[in-house]
């Protein structure tokens, strides 16, 4: 994206630069930040409203109906205003500095994780090679928020909540990591964009349906993800019937709402991660996005070209839009919608579970993790590994419309294979001959598509 702004800058000031300047990066960074903060904050707004509506329906109620007209869709906003207006209380026994900092730690962590989460092919704030790992690492930091809050509140119930949170989240990171490794193993990359693109085509290409083991792993992942974001039936850290409100017992007003924004933020984050890792990311169940985008671009492209032509009178000739870019971006937009829908479905399932099931006890939560989730995840991992090593048939081989996942393997695999094959004297044809017809990783390497972040520059050198 920085390149894009540099282009604009250059065309405006009639300059030419090889790499984007500071201003371009700054603008790009600000736009990314604003977009992500809207995903988190507006997302929380919508999800809280959804939670109210869904829980209402589950419980034979209507939920909010008044604020904002039909369906009470402004209810959360009204609540937000109420929360802002509330008195901000710091208990006498609290460690004031930590007490005040704790909500922001959680919010910041939840927010940071979005940096690496792609919303569509290449639509990501920071296209990271190790996005999966980064998201897991940042999610691990989020646990500090309840711990610090509970410890700093100076209340025994808060402390109990913090201790439970620490024990629970640290334990659930183990099976969660194991589950996340499986798609990475199948795809041979930690790059979320690549993993998502490898599932292009019909839903049979989704990794959850790759083989029976990946489906098990997908289920375990969702369970562990629910636990790691502290949702019922694993919401022990704030168990209202036992610990009053757990770690946020002493919080009020805006600080309290930050915990909730972080919670809903991470809910969507883990759901989105599930969508990318197991459920095709931004690819719909039926590959119709590209044809539709192709048709739409027939209309949009001339319009854009005309716009460029008009603007060109002012800032100088801008030329034509690159062939195919419009179609790709429309497909991306549809992919983004797809992704948002999938993530929202994940969040909805979490809500459904929350309003249906009783809460587990702390020892049962740990048992679920250590005695069930970890072995099942390990079993799924091994099974998927064996499946992959022995080249057993996957749903990906089914004769359906779509592309073969392994046509888009990441290049380093080829490099390593080349190295190994040539040294072992393998006479098989060079992998270069099988150069994939479609390589989103390369495609995303092009300057138009990759929204580069502020700090690390120059996309793929290849």
């Amino acid at each position: 994206m920085a390149e894009f702004f540099q282009q604009i800058w250059d065309s405006f000031f009639q300059t030419s630069s090889e790499s984007p300047g500071a201003i371009a990066y700054l603008v790009a960074a600000v736009i990314h930040c604003v977009l992500i903060i809207h995903v988190v904050a507006v997302g929380a707004l919508i999800f809280i409203w959804m939670e109210r509506k869904i829980s209402g329906r589950i419980q034979d109620r209507l939920g909010p109906t008044r604020v904002g007209g039909a369906f009470g869709w402004l209810q959360t906003l009204a609540d937000g205003i109420k929360l802002i207006a509330k008195e901000d209380i710091t208990p006498k026994d609290a460690d004031a500095m930590l007490f005040k900092a704790a909500p922001y730690v959680g919010f910041a962590a939840s927010y940071c994780a979005y940096i690496a989460l792609p919303f569509s092919d290449g639509w990501v704030a920071q296209h990271m090679n190790t996005a999966v790992f980064f998201i897991l690492a940042v999610l691990g930091i989020e646990v500090f928020s309840p711990i610090l809050a509970g410890y700093a509140s100076g209340s025994k119930w808060s402390l109990f909540g913090a201790m439970r949170e620490a024990a629970q989240v640290v334990s659930y990171e183990v099976p969660l990591g194991m589950c996340v490794v499986v798609p990475c193993m199948i795809c041979g990359t930690l790059n979320l964009v690549t993993i998502g693109n490898m599932q292009a085509g019909s839903f049979t290409n989704w990794l959850a349906f790759n083989d029976p083991f990946t489906f098990i792993v997908a289920c375990v992942y969702f369970t562990c993800a629910t636990a790691s974001v502290n949702r019922a039936p694993f919401d022990l850290a704030e168990a209202e019937s036992e610990l009053v409100a757990g770690f946020h017992t002493e919080y009020s007003g805006l600080r309290w709402s930050f915990f909730f924004m972080a919670e809903y933020g991470s809910m969507f984050l883990v759901s989105g991660l599930a969508a990318i890792l197991f459920f095709g990311g931004w690819h719909g169940p039926i590959p119709i996005a590209e044809p539709i985008a192709g048709v739409l671009s027939l209309v949009v492209e001339p319009l854009l070209n005309f716009g460029r032509y008009v603007v060109g009178f002012v800032v100088g000739d801008l030329g034509q839009v690159t062939e195919g870019v419009v179609a790709t971006q429309i497909a991306n937009l549809m992919g983004c919608l797809n992704f948002l829908v999938k993530g929202t479905i994940g969040v909805t399932v979490m809500m459904w579970v929350r309003w249906t099931l009783p809460r587990l006890r702390i020892d049962q939560v740990m048992t679920t993790c250590l005695k069930y989730c970890v072995p099942i995840a390990a079993f799924g991992f091994l099974g998927a590994l064996v499946w992959q090593v022995n080249d057993l048939p996957t749903s990906n081989d089914m004769p359906v419309i779509g592309k073969n996942r392994f046509e888009v393997r990441e290049s380093w695999v080829y490099q390593a294979e080349k190295e190994l094959r040539t040294t072992s004297g393998d006479q098989k044809s060079s992998p270069d001959d099988q150069q994939p017809p479609f390589d989103p990783h390369q495609a995303t390497g092009s300057t138009e598509l990759v929204p580069q972040g502020a700090f690390v520059m120059k996309g793929g050198a290849r």
Partner: protein, 401 residues
């Protein structure tokens, strides 16, 4: 409240460093009102629980010494405010026993209808609130949705939704309005198919079973020793129900009614209905059984109301006229217990021959049921404390009186 007490046994005053003393209540989401439990915890494990009562003490017994029995009826409503009808019934029967008042058949059947409907309404709250204690909110609203319908019926009968003062010594304040019985039957027909829903959400739910089965196990002997009554006693497998085993003045209300006492006999519960199976993890006398007995009593109460409606519509006599407001009581003292939803509710009435009793005493079922908390909660986890206290289904208004 700064208290100066030299008694070393009071728990707040000896704090050990490696343990934590936590106040659960009186302001706490799962203490059913204003119960205060002082927990001595080592991490998540509770080593000692000390209940502190009295936050809702309203001197009901002292007030009873200044009012006539009929004037005191509203105070009985406010003891067990979730089953006001059954409290009215207990007090009315006690006063009738003293003045030796005989009721007509019709009035008796009316009382059965009302008391059993009250039992359903009360157990619905017990069920929903127990779900709340275990962290699930939806069953609570499902329960209240049905309870509201019962309250609508009660409102039609007596004009009140919570504190009814409907059953009085001598009968009831009014007859059931026209069409009430049909509405009541319609409610039962609609309500009965909903019960499997509750079983699916709670009774047979895997997490619910995990949270309750084998928790807070109380043997039958222990239950009797602590004076536990009602579903708490029967959940421990003791076959004792005042509707069958009580005093004649009370049991004659149920004469000729077909019902089985809900308790596990010879390893199984009554098989008069299609109840869900007892899970393998459940131990007799644990939280799950106490809950299960309550759920089964709801079905039983539906049956009883149906029978009572049939009898009421054909019975002779009138619905009973209340005694005079200042009815002069004969000298003497009586004690009578009835089977209220939470256990045996006893009233002790001492009269010196005036219209105003010399002494009124209410034997609270929850008071006794709650007294086992310390013994049941020893060594359990913090999360089990609400599970155990919730399974006793206490109402603080009745405990503190």
């Amino acid at each position: 409240m700064a208290t100066q007490v030299d008694d070393a046994r009071i728990i707040e005053f000896d704090v050990r460093t490696d343990e934590m003393l936590v106040n659960m209540g009186p302001q706490h989401p799962s203490t059913h009102g204003v119960l205060r439990l002082v927990l001595r915890t080592d991490g998540e494990i509770v080593s000692e629980v000390e209940p502190h009562l009295g936050y809702l003490h309203r001197c009901a017994e002292k007030i009873g010494e200044n009012l006539t029995p009929r004037q005191w009826i509203p105070y009985t409503d406010r003891m067990d405010y979730l089953a006001g009808m059954n409290m009215n019934l207990g007090w009315s029967l006690c006063v009738e026993k003293l003045i030796d008042h005989q009721l007509s058949e019709k009035a008796k059947h009316l009382r059965v209808i009302i008391a059993e409907m009250g039992r359903i309404a009360s157990h619905l709250v017990g069920m929903g609130a127990y779900g709340l204690d275990l962290g699930t909110f939806s069953p609570f609203l499902y329960a209240f949705r049905e309870r509201e319908k019962i309250l609508d019926l009660f409102e039609e009968a007596c004009g009140a939704r919570l504190t009814y003062s409907y059953l009085t010594p001598g009968g009831a304040t009014a007859d059931l309005p026209n069409g009430w019985l049909q509405k009541c039957e319609a409610f039962l027909d609609q309500f009965e198919p909903i019960i499997p829903e509750y079983h699916a959400l709670l009774t047979t739910n895997a997490i619910f079973v995990k949270r309750t089965a084998g928790i807070g196990v109380m043997s039958g002997e222990m239950a009797v020793d602590f004076g536990c009554t009602g579903p708490v006693l029967r959940g421990s497998g003791v076959d004792y129900d005042l509707r069958r085993d009580g005093e004649e003045r009370y049991t004659e209300m149920y004469d000729g009614y077909a019902f089985e006492v809900i308790s596990q006999k010879d390893g199984h519960y009554p098989k008069d209905h299609d109840y869900p199976a007892v899970p393998a993890e459940a131990v007799l006398g644990d939280c799950w059984h106490r809950f299960y007995v309550r759920m089964l009593e709801v079905v039983q109460a539906i049956d009883l109301v149906r029978q009572a409606i049939d009898r009421y519509s054909t019975a002779s006599g009138d619905w009973g006229v209340p005694i005079k407001l200042a009815h002069k009581l004969p000298k003497g003292e009586v004690y009578l217990e009835t089977e209220s939803p939470r256990g045996q509710m006893g009233f002790y009435l001492v009269s010196d021959g005036n219209a105003i009793p010399w002494r009124v005493r209410a034997r609270s079922s929850c008071f006794c049921n709650l007294s086992v908390t310390s013994d049941l909660c020893r060594g359990c986890l913090i999360a089990d404390v609400p599970a155990i206290v919730g399974s006793l289904d206490v109402v603080m208004g009745e405990i503190d009186r």
